[in-house]
Amino acid sequence: MLKSLPYKTISILLIFALALIIPLAATVALDVSDIFSAMDDASPMNTAQKIAYGNQKEILFDDMIIVSMYVFVFALIVVLYIARKALKPFKMMHDSMRLMADGAGNIRLDYASTDEIGEAARSFNEISRKLDTMRKALWRQTLISERSSLPLVEMDDDLTIRAVNAAFPRAFGYIQDELVGYRLVEFFSGDSAKQFRRRLVEGESGEVMALRANVLTKEDGPAPVSVDVIRIVDEEGTSGGLAAYMRDLRSVSILEEALKLERENSEAIMDSTEDMVLIVDRDFSVVSANLAMRVKYGRDIKGEPCHEAMYGRKERCFMAGETCTAREVFETGKPFRHVIEKEDPEGPTVFLDVLAYPLMDSAGEPNHVVMSMRDVTERVSFEDEVDRKNKELAALNEISGLLSRSLRTEGVYPQVIDRVCELFTMDGGGIFLLDDMGRNLRCDYSKGLSQEFQKSIRTLGVGQDIPGKVVSSGSALVIQDVTKDPLAEDSAFRHTGIRSFACVPVRGKEKLIGVFFVFGLVAHHFRDGDEGIMESISEMMGISVENTRLYERMKAIYEQDRQRRSEERKGLLELSSTIASSSDLDAVLGSVMEHVRRLCWADFAWLALGEGKGGFVLRACTDKSFEPGAEIYAPGTQSLEGQCIERREPLVVPAMGALRNITLEDRLAGYVAATCIPLYVGDRSLGALSLYYMTEVNPSEDEVHFLQTVGSVIGVALERSRLFESAAIQRGMAETVLESIGDGVLAVDPEGVVISMNGAACDIFGFRHGQAVGLSASEAILRGNDNFEFASMFNEALEKSVNGEPAAFDSAFVRKDGSRVPVAFAGSPASTSGGGLVGVVFVVRDLRTRLEIDKMKTDFVRRVSHEFRTPLTAIVGMTEMVLEGDLEPERSSEYLETVLSESRRLAGMISDVLDIARIESGRAELIKTELDFDKILDTVRLRTESQASEHEAKVEMSVESAIKAVGDAEKLRQMIGHLVQNSLTYSDKGVNISVSVRGIAQEISITVKDDGWGIEPDDIGSVGERFFRGTTPHTRKGTGLGVAISRQIAHMHGGVVEIESEIGKGTSVKVRMPIGRV
């Protein structure tokens, strides 16, 4: 087609050209002829013209043909070109279809155009896709049927085989291709073929039929199969033959056979077991029951609901509130076991042990339950019995525990009775105990009885009512029903609603001590062993009651003993504390002896001190006729006390009559027995403590021990007293030393509490003696905040000292009166011999005197330098001026005189200062001789003569005759000289001076008296201070050391200086001194 298409196109074109060009050329030729003719008509042409025209016409024709041919060829080329383009999709389509025909699938044309050809290409693509899908589906189906394990046959309506799948020959042993053309029934066994044909005819109208047949296999004979035949019908409903599916049933039939056998076997097994076996389905219907089951129920209960078959219940067990075995298994999917109690109206209750297993379906869900049931009635009753016995044992054990644990039976009765009631399922009970006389029973405890009834049976005589009868008979009584039993005919218990009653005697070791009883409000069948159990309980109760009574007795005895010991201890404690708290041992020892005597029930006690052979001195005793301190046994006497000290152990003499070679103090002659305890402190014997009895006594070990303890206490006290005394002496000495120390001593404990403060320290801190002891040192010191700084320094020092470091500080202490006391503080830790810190001792030095001395020294130096400067000023200044030489000669000599006198004064001052220094330093010694005052005064007169005459003074000297005294003549001369000098210095010219020496008794008085200027009353006290020269201008002449030196000299002779003076009237200085010894 494609090949012919261009040709056809060319043909069409040729036809078109012929149809167009020839008529066109003809028309043009005619029209041209017409034009020639017309032209010729209008203007006739010559021949030449005509020939020309004729030629022209021919040329025109030829040209037209050529042009036409040319146009035709051009058009052809154009058409061919366009046709080639337009036909390309067709060519593609053609090629694709070819491929499809060759079996290729799903071919796509890539031509995307909106024109008709594009549309055609898309339709082609769609067709191609659908065809491909169908082809694949077909392929799959073919593959399925071909690969199917089920034999498959496609037949015509007349059963002629058109095709078989591979399974068919595989199943039946034929070759696939050789089957085609045979009829299917030819492969069936005779019967099967007939049946098949018949069914096929019958079921012609149906589309599917199923039947079973036997196929003849090529080698193994007939094989059972199931055949499903389907009619193949097309869309219009036209029959297109038949298809047969076969299922090979050979393996299934083997399985069925095996199952049948299995079922028979399992039934046989089920039947062979003695247990009842039952299979129940999900509807709780019995699917199968074994022989035992059938025998038990007398019928095959198969198909019946299990609850109905087994229990005759219309409703299901779980609806009746029972445990449904099957349901448990269906719900959990697990085996379940339990014991069912099945009441049998005709016989005893039956117990069934049911064991149920689930049977699972292919989904793993339980769809049947196999229950196997065993009659365990016997076992259960046995277990019950064991359980009951266990309970009894447990109850007995508990009761025994209760009774043995408690020593107060009253508290245990309720619990015991409770247990007994529990054990025998009783409602109450109680206990009666016999009184000591064994005549009456007293109800000790009861439970479950009305109060009124309790009162009525509180006491029962022996033989009265059931408990009384039990006591008198001595054997237990068990009554099943009180109302019916003749034994309880006259019992009070009969009318209280009590039905069952048991009463058991309670026995002690030797005798019956009571009964216990239990009762029930309903009739009770007591078992054979019950009485025995009750008797065991009663036995335990008996033992318990006896034990308790024994315990009470023991306790009372123990209590007595304890009380006695406690008294002894108390006595000992009192003794110890009396001794320990007393510093004066003598005062208490007497009462201690009395105490010991009383505690030991003795008639006489004494404390004899001594070392055995060395004899004894009485220290204390209980008899006032003895005198403490008196010798009771002379050295070398053989005494009880001496023996016990020698043996170093207590001496107990129950009867002294048996003793030989023992001397007894005369006044002890009436005593029969004695106990003697040696007193030792360490290895040192102190003496003995002895007790004497009027009757024969053998004191217990305890008593001796007690006495030994007392002895030790006294021994220690004696030793302590001795030590205390010596310590007191030492302490007194130490205190005296401490008090006599000039420095303050303050002792504090490590916490800073004052232990002691000596007098000096008290003075410094402003305490009365002993007032500060027990106070916190820093607080006592603080006193307001005046001594804040001092206290902080003190605390610091205390801390340092406690840590073992030496601590010292200087500070000032402000006293109550506000005065400041400069002190130097030095602390050092005080330790015991063991090295333990007991406190800190501070030495407090009052620095006032030292500072004063320091100040005096400074003042002295300053004064000396000042006093020296004044004469020096004259000496230096005047000398300078003289040397300058601008003074008149008279003035010069005046100046030089002054220089000389000032130099002398300076020299005098220096020697005075040296004198004073020598005297004060103690280096100056008195050269004592018998004094001749006349001579002394003569010398004085000589030394002061020139000055006195210069001063126009009148000096009188008088000495009382016959003065006999001893002293340093030179010093006294110096002293009197100074005093005369002073009188001269501090007076106007013409002064009267008198020096007199008197002797009065053992005293000498030297008086220097003048009628000079006198001393201001305020100044008198200062006279004698170094360099003091009075405060009035005209008094400033002396060195100011005269009286000071005089006073020192007087002091050296043991004398004093007394000054009397009145301004304007004069002064009298009196030195009084003892006459002295050589």
């Binding site: 300053r862 400067r869 300078e880 001026m881 201008p1033």
Partner: protein, 126 residues
């Protein structure tokens, strides 16, 4: 002529100072009456006052304070003669308004130089 009041209880020191100053051409009013020292100064109104510190009845420092406390006399320079050698004493003196502190023993020539220095200018010699 400059007028100087000298007050000292030691007669020979007074004599010596008086001599030295007078010989230098100064007018000197010398007195041993320490109690009346202030009145003397007030009466004389000198150009300079020389006082001894250690005097009975009243100390030179107190006199100086009196002088310095009176507006009429406060301008008068005061020299202090003293045997007190300590520094703190000097401080007390300076605090009281002492112009010059002269420690005993002193050189009369040096005293004169100091006096002339305070008075300013050389006085004419006799």
């Amino acid at each position: 002529m400059h007028k100087i009041v000298v007050i000292d209880d030691e007669p020979f020191i007074l004599m010596m100072v008086e001599d030295k100053l007078m010989r230098a051409g100064l007018e000197v009013v010398a007195s041993r009456e320490s109690v009346k020292a202030y009145e003397t100064v007030k009466g004389e109104m000198p150009d300079l006052v020389i006082l001894d510190w250690m005097m009975p009845e009243i100390s030179g420092i107190d006199v100086c304070r009196q002088i310095k406390g009176d507006p009429d006399t406060a301008h008068i320079p005061v020299f202090m003669l003293t045997a007190k050698g300590q520094d703190e004493d000097e401080k007390i003196g300076i605090k009281a308004g002492v112009a010059k502190y002269i420690t005993k023993p002193f050189s009369p020539k040096m005293l004169l130089d100091e006096v002339l220095l305070v008075l300013g200018g050389e006085p004419e010699k006799q």
